[in-house]
Symmetry: C2
Subunit: 221 residues, 2 copies
Amino acid sequence: MNQIICTVDIVLLTLHEGVLKVALLKRDREPFKGVNALPGGFIHSNEDSDVQDAALRVLKEKTGIDAPYLEQLASFSGPARDPRGWSVSIAHYALVSFDVINSAAHPDIKLVSVDRPSSLPFDHRSILETAVSRLRSKSQYSSLPCYLTGETFTLPQLQRVYEFLMGEALNKVSFRRKITEMDMLEAIPGQFETAGAHRPAQLYRLKKIFRQQLQLLDRGL
Amino acid sequence: MNQIICTVDIVLLTLHEGVLKVALLKRDREPFKGVNALPGGFIHSNEDSDVQDAALRVLKEKTGIDAPYLEQLASFSGPARDPRGWSVSIAHYALVSFDVINSAAHPDIKLVSVDRPSSLPFDHRSILETAVSRLRSKSQYSSLPCYLTGETFTLPQLQRVYEFLMGEALNKVSFRRKITEMDMLEAIPGQFETAGAHRPAQLYRLKKIFRQQLQLLDRGL
DNA sequence: TAAATAGTGTCTTTTAGACAGTATCCT
DNA sequence: AGGATACTGTCTAAAAGACACTATTTA
């Protein structure tokens, strides 16, 4: 065996102004010092209990964000992706509402649209694309998009999130049938969102059981 | 950063006598010398171009099997899973037909049913369960099960493979509609499989494009 | 009361499944 | 001929989608 560099990188995604955005941070050391990159860091064998724990620690240290929805994505590896040598990065992706970034997060985080192909160091472009692709794919048949919403939301809002991620308009009746089938939401009694000159919409929240655990559908939306 | 042990483990799965089996090898060195375990090994930064390449190399070295369908599964990590220290194993799973194991593979491979909870070293039990769960899940909506069949097969044979993996009987007409929709098979002209006192079944094979690349369905089977 | 969006009932279209028929082998 | 399984045509059932109607707000 030879020396291998072990890191975690985190693709922190959020929805802002109808666009999917990723959180970037200016690197404070070489290589690529001063360049915007995905938050990442070395695994600390003396304090991390596993790579997920390392990812949560790095995310907290670099962005100030605590325990969002976070899932392992894939490993990215090779002799050339990091100029320091043969490396493995175990990439994770995390989903938060824009509110969380706005309040809890460090002010030097840059939110950038995932579609604008700004140049990224290492193979972070490839990691980002994999994360977005995974998010879009899982949105087809799971409760994943809920983690991009705030604590409470209306069904029309949630439908717009799903439609944005899936890239297609959804039938309102079918969408609501599926959401009911998933049985993951609870209406907040007496709470409505008034947004203009029309009937207010019922506010919902995720049932407690589904705050950290995905709900899946047999057939997609 | 501290020293971290980087390895790959491979869950090599095959279908034999109507049972899903995993390939185990007696370990030839400490720790757990002499114990049956998943084939695995260190990443070699001087020869491997990435972890997938390391997995293919380890699989070839330890089992003699070359370039099957192989996909990254997940990373398993922590301070205690390997007695030598804090380690990351990037687990992969591979699918082959029993023929391949029977001919190309080393004779000291042990095929064990994935359901029989024989004791496994490290966290190999957990890796195995994740692999089987991934296989079953992907079988719902992809061509993955095809990689467990031989080069040629009949539709009734393929349907039995899918039914075994999905754990439920499938409607014959619907199954064939979906297979047709996937458009991944080609009938071998004039070739039939005679298996008893009844009409022989048309033999099929995977179209060349799909030998290494999965085909996905919008809605599952 | 007009306009706008929320929420629901119901009909139509699409997709999946049941069933039964024909096809083709072996004994 | 009879039994067995392959394959296919067609009807039925279930799911998804279209459409329209009611509900409730502001201007």
